[in-house]
Amino acid sequence: MPPLQPPLPDDFAELCRERFGITDLPPEGPVVPRDQLVALATALKDELGYRFFVYCAASHHPKESQCQVAWRVRRLGKGTVSAPFRVIVPDGETCPTLSGVYAGADWQEREQYDLVGVVFDGHPDLRRLMLPEDWEGHPLRKDYAIDTHQFPWR
């Protein structure tokens, strides 16, 4: 059985510590300052070989009035390891896009924008992915009740 969260890969932890000065490295991924996100992802992909895009998952935390966006990228090969990292986006602010680094982040960020309402700054084509263009609200936000009155079949 896999452990709850495997520890961060050594080279990723070293990169965070040495170059970005991030000392808090929990197994679910370090919190990266928003202005360093693209630099970190570029270094991960081009220097350390984490080329496989696993996921981008945003979650809404109304108590802290913020959203958290979590990414994970993977280095393929024997004994594959993955590098998770997170970004905290306060309400009303934007998150930098990774679609310039990982082409697959394009659709994933559109999905998170659609469902959670995180705006990705600099995204080339930030439209809704799943819901119709005229849908109101972002369903995965905690303040969006499950029985919100909006008919999908209009």
Partner: protein, 417 residues
């Protein structure tokens, strides 16, 4: 009957470059990358553009996917996919259900390989809880996953022949042959779980149903029959000249682009990347199995078909290695779930990814310590492979788009969730 193959000419040596842990064929990385967001005004103004909506109800889209393609003559120069027609709000639904209630909902995501959805999400919950699954359940899960892979790939092989349609004499014969054998595999699932499609057999901590008497013998019988039929299936398409014309050199996937998009599984292996989580990061009982991982270096539709074909053979082999010594013992580590609060993880997050027939399927869970998950993100492999479409369709004929779409094998229930 002797099915002699035409001798295959010696393949030229492939040049590889090292790309962080794996090596990729150099030639495929040199394909110029399409710019999917180039505005229409930048294209040649004389292009006599015809805008065609393929779908949402087009038989080749395997569900409801709309491809808006701009055509110059018969060649596509821009393609924008629209997904979401099957969006059911699964992730929102899961946030409002207890952990014990979730398995039957995720069955319907990838409705071609439901057992792999169940295993993926329950492994994430088990990681969150810190439960160790008994050996017998692990082996049973592995066998079920491999049987499901056989059934899933058979559906792909059959529908791919249908997509290519007329050129193969309708393709319906091959389709029906594949479905005949697929029925046998589904019967095995019915014997074990009572359901042919939506099993609800994996629970947190183990399995719900044990193998009934005579099940292993039936599995062996079905696999023997399938193996003898596969010889026949090879001759259907592998050496078919028209099939070669339709699929060879069509929709070549750059492995670096596929990695960036997160498209894994057979798509990556058909582009020369020797990587499979079942061998490289073994989970369940895959450490007991010697997996044969087929890899091809062409990266086109033909390579993807052949990789999936060989994976059927490899999966049959894997089941044969396991079926004779399933360990005795319990099949569930925790008591069968009776109340909604019986699964109560501590606050935390977990991510577990496993190999589905379409790539890496995974679940990212955030728990806040209550009986319901705070946030569940399902990583659907089909969404990631469908995001390759704007890159692959440019420069292809309309009929090639059908072949490309079919060879990526996206399941729209999983794309849209």
């Amino acid at each position: 009957m002797d099915h002699a193959h035409t001798p295959v000419p010696e393949a030229p040596a492939v040049k590889y470059v090292d790309m962080g842990g794996v090596r990729v064929p150099y030639e495929l990385t040199q394909i110029p990358r399409v710019q999917p967001h180039r505005p229409l005004s930048e294209y040649e103004p004389e292009a006599d553009a015809l805008v065609v909506n393929m779908g949402p109800q087009h038989p080749s889209t395997h569900g409801v996917l709309r491809l808006k393609v701009w055509l110059d003559g018969e060649v596509c120069f821009k393609c924008v996919p629209y997904v979401g027609y099957l969006h059911r709000g699964v992730e929102k639904l899961l946030e409002n259900r207890a952990y014990a209630q979730i398995t039957p909902i995720v069955d319907k995501n990838d409705y071609v390989s439901p057992i792999i959805n169940e295993i993926a999400i329950n492994m994430a919950f088990e990681a969150l809880l810190g439960v160790e699954v008994p050996e017998r359940a692990k082996v049973l899960r592995t066998i079920l996953a491999e049987l499901q892979r056989v059934a899933s790939h058979q559906l792909f092989m059959g529908t791919f022949a249908l997509d290519l349609g007329g050129a193969l004499g309708g393709g319906a014969a091959y389709f029906l042959y594949n479905f005949r054998e697929r029925e046998d595999v589904l019967d095995l699932f019915e014997m074990l779980t009572g359901g042919r499609f939506h099993y609800n057999t994996i629970c947190v901590g183990g399995n719900r149903h044990d193998a009934p008497a005579g099940w292993t013998d039936q599995v062996k019988k079905v696999l023997d029959r399938l193996t003898s039929r596969l010889v026949e299936y090879r001759t259907f398409l592998e050496d078919n000249h028209i099939f070669h014309l339709r699929t060879k050199g069509v929709g070549i996937v750059d492995p670096l682009l596929a990695m960036e998009c997160g498209a894994g599984g057979p798509i990556l292996r058909a582009s020369g990347v020797d990587y499979d989580m079942r061998r490289d990061a073994p989970y369940l009982a895959y450490d007991r199995v010697k997996m044969n991982i087929p890899v091809r270096t062409e990266g086109d539709c033909y390579a993807r078909y052949m990789v999936r074909f060989e994976e059927v053979v490899a999966s049959i082999d894997a089941v044969r290695q396991l079926i004779d010594d399933i360990p005795e013992g319990p099949i569930c580590a925790v008591k069968p779930v009776r109340t909604l609060k019986s699964v109560l993880p501590k606050p935390g997050t977990a991510y577990v990814g496993i190999e589905s027939p379409r790539g890496e399927i995974g679940t990212y869970v955030i728990s806040d310590g209550t009986e319901k998950p705070y946030r569940v993100k399902i990583r659907p492999p089909s969404l990631h492979s469908a995001s390759l479409l704007p890159y692959l369709c440019v420069g292809a004929n309309v009929s090639d788009i059908v072949a490309i779409l079919g060879s990526l094998d996206p399941i729209l229930g999983e794309v849209d969730r």
